[in-house]
């Protein structure tokens, strides 16, 4: 056990929980209308509480139990066999469990952006729990738990595929099944508090240091370089998105700048342990430009109300970074080098296979989960509730009080 490694991952664990509570919650809450602000905050908060228990009971075991190439089995349910001296690598296993739990919390919380302002609260909880159990935990095992994608050599340092592709694709499927908000796309009211969105996004930026640099699972050069490329990608993503808006509208918006930053962060996530600083900067630029174009395509062209652009920003950003890492990992492009026996081409093949497989897995299972859950619980709220707002109807509270 290494004291320095343990200290850094303790810190990283706190940073990643901070990304969801309150970072992501505020980021999303500012983008909805004032009558739904509490419901979005509550979705994120309730997911954090319930997924934590699920992770302890069984999901951690499925992800990181010994098991086989496909799942980890049930041997580590209730942290069975994990005590004060149990280690995972150079850190205590209880810490590894906690660090990974914060990832299991933020991933279903990302999907909150697909369905706000019209979904039933109990469905959010039911869906999120089942989704973590049968979509997320197995994919974690495949990629980080010694499963078959790890064997194939898939590069996913901090979760481009595991976190962003799973959440992004599931968000898109869920948004299509739920249907658009009333008035979409032409008569929906704009975000009620862009300042709140900026505050939340800024917490995400800081928290992402724990997400990516913590994924080194050590306090070493890999962690510090991951932090460096993460920061550069966030900055260039924000600049790229703003420049796109300046060209098109002559105005750079705050919501646009912070969204570009998040796109840059999602894009660098899988690559943050593999690329050099120039690679990080270029990945952020690519993420900002491509994700900007995708938000237009999904909402304006396909008319899918993935309300807060989870697929366009996270799904596409995560997939883009997972593909581009095959090039930027090469020492010729400033990266830390391909694995033995790999070429750019073969690495690209592995990356593409992993992305497509996980995308299909996430999409199909999300479809099935929603179909089955709909038989037992309310999916979408009725029209009156939607007009009144979910805060009052679902939670009996209001975010803002007039006289």
């Amino acid at each position: 056990m290494e004291g320095a490694d343990t200290a850094w991952i303790l810190t990283s664990t706190a940073l990643v929980l901070f990304m969801t509570l309150p970072g992501l919650a505020l980021f999303y809450a500012g983008l909805v209308r004032s009558k739904n602000v509490l419901s979005v905050l509550m979705n994120c908060f309730a997911i954090a509480a319930t997924v934590s228990i699920l992770w302890f009971v069984v999901a951690y075991s499925i992800a990181f139990g010994d098991g086989n190439a496909w799942w980890g089995g049930l041997g580590k349910s209730f942290l069975s066999g994990v005590g004060l001296d149990t280690v995972s690598g150079t850190i205590p296993e209880s810490l590894f469990f906690m660090f990974q739990m914060t990832f299991a919390i933020i991933t279903p919380a990302l999907i909150v952006g697909a369905y706000p302002e019209r979904i039933h609260f109990s469905f959010v909880i039911g869906f999120s729990l089942i989704w973590v159990l049968i979509v997320y935990a197995p994919v974690v095992h495949w990629v980080w738990g010694g499963g078959f994608l790890a064997e194939m050599g898939l590069i996913d340092f901090a979760g481009g595929v595991v976190v962003h592709v799973t959440a992004g694709v599931s968000a898109l499927v869920l948004a299509m099944m739920l249907g658009p908000r009333r008035g979409f796309p032409n008569e929906v009211q704009p975000p009620h508090n862009p300042g709140m969105t900026m505050i939340g996004a800024s917490m995400l930026w800081v928290g992402w240091f724990g997400f990516n640099a913590g994924s080194a699972l050590a306090a070493d050069g890999s962690a510090t370089m991951a932090m460096t490329v993460t920061h550069l990608s966030a900055a260039s993503g924000a600049i790229a998105w703003s420049v796109m808006e300046l060209i098109r509208y002559r105005k750079a918006s705050l919501v646009g700048a912070v969204t570009g930053m998040v796109a840059g962060l999602a894009t660098i996530t899988p690559a943050s342990g593999s690329v050099g600083p120039v690679g990080g900067m270029l990945l952020g630029l690519a993420g900002g430009v491509v994700c900007y174009a995708m938000t237009q395509f999904i909402k304006q062209r396909l008319k899918i109300d993935d309300s807060l652009d989870v697929f366009a920003v996270h799904g596409i950003g995560g997939a883009l970074g997972s593909l581009l890492v095959a090039f930027f990992v090469a020492t010729a492009l400033g990266g830390h080098g391909l694995a033995d026996g790999m070429t750019m081409g073969s690495q690209l093949g592995v990356q593409a296979f992993g992305i497509v497989l996980v995308a299909v897995w996430s999409g199909v299972l999300t479809f099935i989960i929603v179909k089955v859950l709909k038989m037992f619980m309310k999916f979408r709220v009725d029209e009156e509730t939607e007009v009144q707002g979910l805060d009052l109807a679902m939670h009996g509270e209001r975010g803002y009080h007039g006289m």
């Binding site: 704009p190 105005k251 646009g256 900007y292 938000t295 304006q300 652009d309």
Partner: protein, 112 residues
């Protein structure tokens, strides 16, 4: 007595208040309201999606005055609130039947 209601651009509130003070008006009510006229709302863009916001934030001023100063008050508001751009607002002048000061019970012009 006249009751004057003016809808103006929010950033013109201080100018209008000062202009009214300079013609001897010592009290008024201001509230934040939303509405539109020929300006027809405004367009806001978030993540490339254009939102048509029909109701634009405005400030409504209400002031009760004696008949003799009504024209001067209207002119003061009009001058102070004017930016010569669309959306500057409107002024409505209504006949006022009575006014009562709550504390003393004074009525009519005495209560203003």
């Amino acid at each position: 007595m006249k009751f004057i209601v003016a809808i103006i651009k929010p950033h013109k509130l201080d100018d209008v208040r000062e202009a009214l003070a300079s013609v001897g008006i010592e009290g008024m009510t201001a509230s934040e309201v939303k509405g539109y006229g020929r300006q027809k709302g405004q367009t806001e863009i978030y993540r490339g999606a254009e939102y048509q916001v029909n109701f634009v934030p405005k400030v409504k001023i209400e002031v009760a005055v004696d008949d003799g100063v009504a024209d001067a008050v209207v002119e003061a508001i009009r001058t102070a609130a004017n930016t010569e751009k669309i959306g500057d607002g409107k002024i409505f002048v209504l006949d006022l039947e009575n006014a009562v000061r709550v504390r003393t019970g004074e009525t009519g012009a005495e209560a203003l």
